[in-house]
């Protein structure tokens, strides 16, 4: 997994790169937007980490322009800007997520991993969250290598939760993903699938990973 860090503060960029490298992500650094464009010309990246206040232009403008020019990997926006609305503007301009400075490396790494799990041409073949793994192609799930028996719907739910591991997946989103428009969804249908999946996970030895956020949705999170 290769990450391009676009950040003008040399020390900050270097320390961020080192921190992410310790967490198993290889990083390149571009200290100007022009250098970032050059890097994108010559190499393939899985993720961009973009600081907004760059010396040679506005990061959001650059992102918008680059998105029009080529297929960009997901972009995580790193900003010291504090205007609350800037975050929204960043997401509108094609940023996939944002982290506000001062950030914590663990938090940054978690967001990076979440973005890398998103489906796409460069997405990893096998999803992994803690001891849990899922192969979207074969629809096979396993805990620490031991296969889990899952129904089609349970597998779909697991994939959805794993792709967004570490964030709460809203109940409505689960309903939309698991059932087609013409299917009638009984009020407890989602709860039933979730509790079946939770039982399967517990049987497989991955208890304490699937959490209910009552009134909101469900959260799959590595307990470690």
């Amino acid at each position: 997994m290769r990450v391009l860090i676009i950040e003008d503060n040399a020390r900050l960029a270097r320390l961020t790169a080192e921190g992410l490298q310790r967490r198993g992500l290889s990083c390149d650094i571009a200290q100007t937007l022009a250098l970032a464009s050059d890097s994108l010309d010559v190499a393939l990246f899985d993720l961009l980490i973009l600081d907004l206040g760059m010396p040679d232009g506005d990061g959001l403008e650059w992102l918008r322009a680059e998105r029009r020019r080529r297929d960009l990997p997901p972009a995580l926006i790193l900003t010291a800007r504090d205007a609350l609305e800037d975050r929204v503007a960043g997401l509108d301009a094609g940023g996939d997520d944002y982290v506000v400075k001062p950030f914590d490396l663990d938090e940054l790494a978690a967001r990076v991993r979440a973005l890398l799990r998103r489906p796409g041409p460069r997405a990893p073949a096998i999803l992994e969250v803690g001891a849990l793994s899922f192969d979207p192609g074969s629809r096979m799930a396993a805990v620490a290598g031991n296969a889990l028996e899952l129904s089609r719907r349970e597998a779909n739910l697991l994939e959805l939760l794993m792709r967004r591991a570490g964030t709460v997946v809203r109940r409505e989103a689960i309903e939309d993903a698991l059932y087609s428009f013409d299917e009638t969804v009984t009020p407890n249908a989602v709860e039933a699938v979730v509790s079946r999946l939770r039982r399967r996970l517990a049987e497989g030895g991955a208890a304490d990973m699937l959490h209910t956020v009552r009134g909101v949705g469900y959260l799959l999170q590595d307990p470690a």
């Binding site: 320390l15 504090d82 205007a83 709460v168 809203r170």
Partner: protein, 338 residues
């Protein structure tokens, strides 16, 4: 010094004028008609004297002085009425309104210089407050890069050495975030940002969803109850920050294994219920005032956090209240009437 009323002074003045006038008239009339003191004791002359006096003294005084007094009082009351109106408008000005000035258009000419100097003072205060806020925002902003660098350097230390330092940095980050938020609220207030309709149930679910991963990793749960859509008008990011602050506080005082519950409605409220000791009303009042902290508030800056929540709510015409017996802190909004 005894305070004087213009009406009263004027009435007294006119009464004095009336008295002196009456005496003078009386004197003139007496001379004119050759009256002496003995005349008053002359039984035959007395009716004529009384007639003359009432015709030439009493009547003119009554005809002139009484209507003049009434008219003057009326004129004064009328011309001072705009001052009372202006005072009412000043009283009604929102707490954090910037750019508020007394309208001098309706004021009598004599009161305008006073109003102008008050307005000039208000302008100076606005500028001072603006400078102060800009300064706080700058400080918070400038702190971000060094804090980030510090956190990144810390990552290279061995985890045992770094753990307490990382907690300190996390605390500083939160303070910086809150200062930035405060500056943002003030700036928005000054700029009178447009407000948008916000569904409280949706807001609660969104904020709860964002905080749930952190809560779960600390062995605590967040739940949302009440689905009825409750709409208010406001700045979504600011209200989300207010709610986030309350939930973070609630998570801190809730023991491991506990749940922080958000209850939306039935009217335009969001109640945040923790499973900790709960805040008393006095503690909340103190917490809401800046720089003070409740006894059990941790070192995580809950004091500043609640002050910010109170500011955000005030800017939205709402309030934050505590119900310690129910372990609830409640955000009460003015309902959306539009």
């Amino acid at each position: 010094m005894r305070r004087s009323s213009i009406s009263r002074q004027l009435t007294q003045g006119l009464a004095l004028v009336g008295l002196v006038g009456t005496l003078l008239l009386f004197l003139f009339v007496a001379i004119e008609y050759g009256m002496t003191f003995s005349t008053f004791f002359d039984r035959e002359a007395l009716p004529r004297v009384i007639h003359e006096l009432s015709e030439h003294v009493l009547m003119p005084v009554l005809v002139l002085i009484v209507p003049m007094t009434l008219a003057a009082r009326w004129v004064i009351r009328r011309s001072l009425a705009p001052l009372a109106d202006a005072a009412e408008r000043v009283d009604a000005a929102p707490e954090m309104a910037r750019g508020f000035r007394i309208e001098t258009g309706q004021l009598p000419l004599e009161a305008v210089p006073f109003a102008d100097s008050v307005n000039a003072l208000l302008a100076r205060l606005d500028r001072a407050a603006g400078d102060q806020e800009a300064f706080a925002a700058d400080v918070a902003h400038e702190l971000r890069t060094p804090l980030t660098l510090l956190a990144l350097e810390m990552d290279r230390l061995d985890p045992d050495t770094a753990a307490p330092l990382r907690r300190d940095i996390a605390h500083m980050r939160r303070l910086v975030d809150q200062l930035m938020l405060l500056a943002q609220i003030d700036a928005d207030n000054a700029a009178q940002m447009p407000q948008t309709p916000i569904d409280l149930a949706e807001l609660a679910a969104d904020v709860a969803g964002r905080l749930a991963p952190l809560a779960v990793s600390q062995d605590r749960l967040i739940a949302v109850e009440g689905k009825a859509a409750q709409c208010v008008r406001g700045r979504r990011e600011a209200l989300a920050a207010a709610l986030r602050n309350l939930i973070e506080n609630a998570l801190r005082v809730t023991p491991a294994g506990g749940t922080v519950t958000l209850r939306v409605g039935p009217d335009a409220t969001i109640a945040v219920c923790d499973e900790g000791e709960g805040l008393s009303r006095e503690q909340l009042d103190q917490l809401v005032r800046r720089h003070r902290r409740g006894d059990h508030a941790s070192v995580d800056g809950a004091g500043l956090g609640l002050a910010i929540v109170a500011r955000i709510m005030a800017a939205h015409g709402g309030s934050v209240t505590a119900e310690p017996e129910h372990r609830v802190v409640r955000l009460q909004f003015a309902p959306d009437t539009k």
